[in-house]
């Protein structure tokens, strides 16, 4: 489960020349809408992904991210809207002719075939004229298995290997057809935390090495933050924000993104004259530049809420040691907030009175 990527690349035709500028758009969707019965899975989605980008589709379950991925692969069809892959409108191109690699959440390996045959599948299904020779297929499959670091599993069956190994087989199988676009649906969803962390870095390195464009679906924000060049935060079938990880974190576009990222505390407030006054007792007002007067919503991440022994507007509910200090849950009036203990307060006790202050927050008009 190392995070280094071995050896030479596969000699992919799509690999850009080193230093060559990546121009144009790899994937472009506009006005994409998909209804399932009465419920809208996608609602006028626009998204443009540049070649070589690694994009995360992040959102709670039911936000439409998997539907978007399946439409890109040709496994589902939009009710309206345009999908372009590599500049080509793919509305009438069936999945098998799109040449898009797809890694399924539960791998969807062929259980009656061993690992080698699984990976070779895409090559063996090519029309005879374009199909490589047996020897060339063997060579390519071996190189792919080396690339995903499981060369020793060639003769095993999917039922005989671990989840992480199945994931690597699924990836090798998808890469065998040399797709310019790789789609991954919750690629690490079924793996345990330890395996997942190793695979994240490894997959990102592999993406960079192959020079392909990748989109992956996740509901894990850490995963999206760590791996993606840009994150499309989705909610109720819409893209709420599409930007770099740093930008979505620093400048969330709306209350949903602010609340969804970083497990932020949600605080009701009233904005007047560029200042937000909190409804909860004892919290000092914060500046809220540019927010119109009226009721507002503030989002403060745990690290932005400080609990200290000075003051008595709160009470400690739970204490949890964390690598970066002490995380506490404090009760303030009717609400419970995630907070950090002040550095000069080494041993807060459960039930102790404390002072709670919001140091900074994202404020939106409610």
């Amino acid at each position: 489960m190392g995070d280094h990527v071995p050896g030479p690349a596969l000699g992919f035709t799509q690999q850009p020349e080193s230093g060559a500028p990546r121009r144009g758009v790899a994937v472009e969707v506009s006005g994409l809408t998909r209804q399932f019965g009465a419920a809208a899975a996608l609602c006028a989605v626009d998204l443009a992904v540049a070649p070589g980008e690694f994009v995360a589709l992040l959102g709670p379950s039911g936000s439409g991210k998997t539907t978007l991925l399946r439409i890109l692969a040709g496994l589902d069809f939009p009710d309206s809207g345009v999908v372009r892959i590599g500049g080509r409108d793919v509305a009438s191109v069936p999945a098998r002719q799109r040449g898009v690699g797809f890694v399924f959440q539960h791998y969807a390996l062929f259980r009656h075939m061993n690992v080698f045959d699984n990976v070779a599948f895409g090559l063996r299904m090519l029309p005879r004229a374009r199909r490589p020779s047996q020897a060339a297929i063997r060579e390519r499959v071996r190189r792919l298995l080396a690339l995903v670091q499981i060369p020793e599993l060639e003769r095993r069956y999917p039922g005989q290997i671990s989840g992480g190994q199945q994931q690597r087989v699924a990836l090798a199988r998808a890469l065998a057809i040399e797709p310019p676009l790789l789609l991954l649906d919750e690629p690490f969803g079924a793996l345990d935390a330890q395996v997942r962390k190793g695979l994240r870095r490894w997959l990102r390195a592999l993406h960079d090495q192959l020079g392909i464009t990748s989109l992956f679906v996740t509901h894990d924000q850490d995963e999206a933050m760590e791996m993606a060049d840009r994150i499309a935060v989705m909610r109720d079938g819409r893209v709420a924000q599409f930007d770099t990880p740093a930008a979505v974190l620093a400048r969330p576009a709306d209350p949903f993104v602010a609340g969804f990222l970083g497990d932020a505390n949600r605080l009701e407030c009233a904005v007047a004259g560029g200042m937000a006054r909190f409804a909860l007792p004892g919290l000092s007002p914060l500046p809220a530049p540019g927010v119109p007067d009226g009721p507002g919503l503030a989002f403060a991440r745990p690290v932005e809420v400080l609990a200290s022994p000075a003051g008595s507007n709160g009470r400690v509910v739970t204490v949890r040691p964390d690598a970066r200090g002490l995380r506490v849950v404090v009760a303030v009036g009717p609400a419970e907030l995630e907070a950090v203990a002040a550095s000069d307060w080494p041993a807060p006790q459960r039930g102790a009175a404390c002072g709670v202050q919001v140091v900074s927050a994202q404020v939106f008009a409610a």
């Binding site: 098998r96 797809f102 062929f110 259980r111 299904m125």
Partner: protein
Amino acid sequence: MSTAGIAGLSPAAVPAGRRRAWPRSALPGLRPTLGLTLLWLSLLVLLPLTGLLLRPWEIGLDGVWRVVTEPRALAALRLSFGAAILAALIDLPLGLLVAWALVRYRFPGRRLLDAMVDLPFALPTAVAGLALVALYAPNGWLGAPLSAIGVQVAYSRAGVVMALIFVGLPFVVRTLEPVLLDLPGEAEEAAATLGATRLQTLRHVVLPAVAPALLTGFSLAFARAVGEYGSVIFIAGNTPMVSEIAPLVIVTRLEQYDYAGAAAIGLTMLACSFLLLLLLNLFGRRLRPRTA
């Protein structure tokens, strides 16, 4: 019976040092269930089979040999097994198609079709036979146009196969249905994203996955067809040496009070069927996907 099981398995009831016949298990009820199973299996299956095993030898080994190798008996055995295998083979694609349609798609009348699949199970086989005769007789709905082009179904071997296809079909359908339901659609989608055509997906992904179930369905349809009597005798015409099935030969001998002769042919059918089903079973083991 449950007290016996619980008492037998609770550690307090087992005297120290007593040897166990099998490892301890948290699941109660092994002794009563296994005991009852063996009892009824013996009474209902083994005892009659033993009778069948013992009865023929009254006429001696060469007597049995004479009965079984008689041309009329041989022709009947050939027809019974040949027609049963052929019918089960024909049932495979038909059954796969029906099961596929029932499992994969939602269409008006699906439940009705679903219920109709079981009709050959429920119908008295004699009724099925009469219905088939009405249909395929030279003046029947299908028989008339068929005989116009020189094809005779009723009162021929074709009629035998036709009746056996009819009684075997539900076995194939019902065996395949749960397997198709269980088949992850993702495997087919994966094949599509990898560039496989529908035909390639069917050939390389779907069929291998349902192969064990196809084999089981074939075995069941074959087993049913070999023993089928009621529906066949009406449509077969029962011409000795041509369209007479082995069960009819047995019944004919019974009517002549030749119990040993009837049992000899019965034993031959039993042995052949057992051998074939055993082979199918062994072959089926190789088809199953491998796990750890």
